[in-house]
């Protein structure tokens, strides 16, 4: 089950070019902070900023629910709704937080953790994981950090579907029950180099206009 971590956050002014906007965000990132926003529950959105080290910690732990300490005795319980990465995927550049009531039902993506050695791999198979996360519905305080999938009994040709996942009590899968999580397939095999054939793409030509009489 997800542990609720308390993270310090600084509220920003809601005025453009003072607390929000591209230049302000860039300045924050240069200072080692990450701009973020809290929204939801029909309250006004609140722009905030967090330390990038704290974000790294959240990602490492896989925490879905956080308690944001906004200073002056104010705090918000939030869900991580969206993460924006830089173009190389190295750093988080913005985070969306959704105000959460711990007792309400929420939908969230939970990552799949593969455990064990599949015997089918020794039979010449390949472990294929088409989905690396599953969408679940549960109470905000019951979101699991990950869902463990044991593949130690998986032989060649066998499949684990969403409906076969062992979910914690109070957690239901939203993803289709027949969606494949893991399957052991036979790899396509080595690819041979082929001689290049001199072919050209077909050029799409406009249909000729009929001559007017």
């Amino acid at each position: 089950m997800s542990t609720i971590v308390t993270v310090a956050a600084k509220p920003r002014e809601t005025v453009k070019n003072k607390g929000t906007g591209t230049r302000v965000s860039r300045r924050l990132r240069a200072a080692g902070d990450v701009p973020a926003i809290i929204y939801g529950h029909k309250q006004a959105p609140q722009p905030i900023s967090l330390k990038s080290d704290d974000i790294a910690g959240i990602l490492k732990r896989g925490s879905h629910v956080l308690n944001l300490d906004l200073g002056n005795g104010k705090s918000e319980t939030v869900l991580v709704r969206d993460l924006q990465w830089d173009y190389l995927g190295r750093e988080v550049i913005h985070v969306d937080f959704f105000r959460a009531d711990l007792t309400e039902l929420v939908e969230s993506e939970v990552r799949i953790e593969i455990r064990g050695e599949a015997p089918g791999v020794n039979e010449g198979g390949m472990l294929d994981v088409p989905h690396h996360s599953v969408k679940v519905r549960c109470r905000a305080d019951q979101i699991p950090d990950y869902i463990r999938v044991d593949v130690s009994n998986l032989h060649l040709g066998q499949v684990i579907h969403v409906k076969e996942l062992q979910l914690p009590a109070g957690v239901a899968a939203v993803s289709g029950p027949d969606e494949i999580i893991v399957h052991l397939i036979r790899p396509a095999g080595a690819v041979e180099a082929t001689e290049p054939a001199a072919t050209e793409p077909e050029v799409i030509s406009r249909p000729e206009k009929k001559a007017e009489v």
């Binding site: 173009y87 190389l88 082929t194 799409i204």
Partner: protein, 139 residues
């Protein structure tokens, strides 16, 4: 056979410049490990094919390789010792235009050491700097 489009509207295209960073195709969508381009440029269909073959040899038939880019752009050339003028040259090869951040190959179903070795062998054949990437954490 190197990859090329099946049908095109125009056989020859203008050269163009590669500007900006990748905003699409810059994360691992299928595999567990990938090769990310760090510089802008063009990768010819022949190079992509060479990468595919070298990766296949490296993983010895195991795993699955995904090629995330396609050579959509034709590159023309004028033959040597030809006087200037007389129009645009003939299509020499087809190339994929890549921006920094683009994932070009992805590998799945193998362990990290094998993937690193396979992707390093591909990177050696590519005309630009690349880096090995793993999946971003999801929340």
């Amino acid at each position: 056979m190197p990859m090329m489009p099946k049908r095109v509207k125009y056989r020859k295209t203008q050269k163009g410049r590669v500007k900006g960073n990748a905003t699409r195709g810059n994360y691992l969508a299928f595999g567990d490990y990938g090769l990310q381009v760090l510089e802008p440029g063009k990768i010819s269909a022949q190079t992509l094919e060479a990468g595919r073959i070298v990766a296949s040899q490296s993983v010895k038939g195991g795993g699955r390789l995904y090629i995330r880019v396609f050579p959509h752009k034709s590159v023309t050339a004028i033959p040597a010792e030809t006087r200037m003028g007389k129009g645009k040259g003939e299509v020499e090869f087809w190339a994929a235009v890549v921006k920094p951040g683009t994932i070009i190959y992805e590998l799945a179903g193998i362990n990290e050491d094998v993937a690193r070795r396979a992707l390093a062998r591909i990177a050696y054949k590519l005309p630009m700097a690349c880096r090995f990437v793993t999946r971003r954490p999801t929340l």
